[in-house]
């Protein structure tokens, strides 16, 4: 009899397993993903939208969080469902990489141009060096030049 009770209990536990396996340690949060995902009808992030479509996506995200999905997995599913435009930030691949690198390139180019300009400006403001006195009078210097010219 006790063996039968034990077997039923084990079977019940096995059946209840998947239902009871709710995520105890979520891998991401709704508040994080709300800032990463766009509302497709109002073109703002979910946290700034009250549109019904945004609410539906939030509900889907909550379901996935409860199933212990990671932020990446949830984003991948949303991209498969809604396309790349559902993500607030452009992906780090292909043509979209330009969106990440162009601003950085622009800042670097601007800094280089600014630096070069400052360097040019500071050089143009340096006073001309004073002529070093040779210690010879004009007549002697002219004769010395003539002599040197003849030697050449």
């Amino acid at each position: 009899m006790r063996l039968r009770v034990l077997a039923v209990a084990v079977a019940a536990l096995a059946l209840a397993g998947p239902a009871a396996a709710a995520c105890t340690q979520p891998k991401t949060s709704l508040s994080y993903l709300e800032g990463q995902v766009m509302c497709p009808t109002c073109h703002t992030t979910l946290d700034q939208s009250d549109a019904p479509a945004a609410r539906a996506i939030e509900a889907q995200i909550s379901r996935r969080i409860a199933q212990c999905w990671t932020a990446g997995q949830i984003e991948d599913e949303l991209v498969a469902n809604f396309g790349e435009g559902i993500l607030a930030a452009p992906p780090h691949k292909g043509f979209d990489l330009l969106a990440w690198w162009l601003p950085l390139g622009g800042v670097l180019a601007g800094a280089a141009i600014l630096g070069f300009g400052v360097w040019r400006w500071s050089r143009s403001r340096e006073p001309d060096p004073e002529p070093v006195p040779s210690g010879l009078d004009d007549e002697t210097e002219r004769r010395l030049d003539d002599l040197l010219a003849r030697l050449d």
């Binding site: 497709p40 019904p52 479509a53 809604f82 396309g83 141009i113 040019r120 143009s124």
Partner: protein, 180 residues
């Protein structure tokens, strides 16, 4: 050297302004507009909501087509769904094909909506809204287009088909679409 730099900077600045103007002009000329009645219905190929294959609008040429754009989060769509299903049951034998386009929607929610309302006509999904907004200029849900056998738009109904007057217009358009 400084002068060359100055001119170079001015050229770059002017080029940036021109590029922005070109971008603005391109955006203005490429805004989404709803196709007009009498125009050819924009073509598309979309994934079936059931997950089984795709549907190409071109494959329905020669048949009158009803394109109904909806979403599970759309409240008026719920009231419209039974009316559409009834019309589909009534007109399918006469050669009219109804196609539901579930847009900007979570696939699971869309499927639940179809099951909950017992909708039996073909359903496709346009999660990104590229076809819905981009080609049909849909700005609300639901919206419906009636397309003739020749592929031209016979009627565009922005809003739900629920009241008697709209239903009458819809039925009249179906008759026209079957004759075209």
């Amino acid at each position: 050297m400084t002068r060359t730099l100055k001119i170079g900077g001015q050229v770059v600045a002017v080029a940036c302004v021109v590029a922005l103007l070109v971008l603005l002009l391109w955006r203005l000329t490429h805004q989404e507009h709803a196709p007009k009645v009498g125009a050819q219905a924009p073509g598309f190929t979309l994934r079936m909501l059931s997950g089984n294959g795709t549907l190409d609008l071109a494959s329905l040429r020669g048949k009158a087509v009803v394109l109904n754009f909806w979403a599970s989060w759309c409240v008026p769509c719920k009231a419209e769904a039974p009316k559409l299903e009834r019309a589909w049951q009534q007109y399918r034998s006469r050669g009219v094909v109804f196609v539901g386009v579930d847009f900007h929607d979570v696939t699971r929610d869309g499927r639940r909506f179809v099951a909950a309302h017992g909708l039996t006509f073909p359903m496709v999904e346009d999660g990104s809204g590229d076809v819905t907004s981009g080609r049909y200029g849909i700005t609300q849900a639901p919206e419906t287009y009636v397309v003739g056998r020749d592929g031209k738009i016979v009627l565009h109904i922005p809003g739900p088909i629920v009241d008697a007057a709209t239903l009458a217009r819809f039925r009249a358009a179906l008759t026209t679409a079957l004759r075209s």
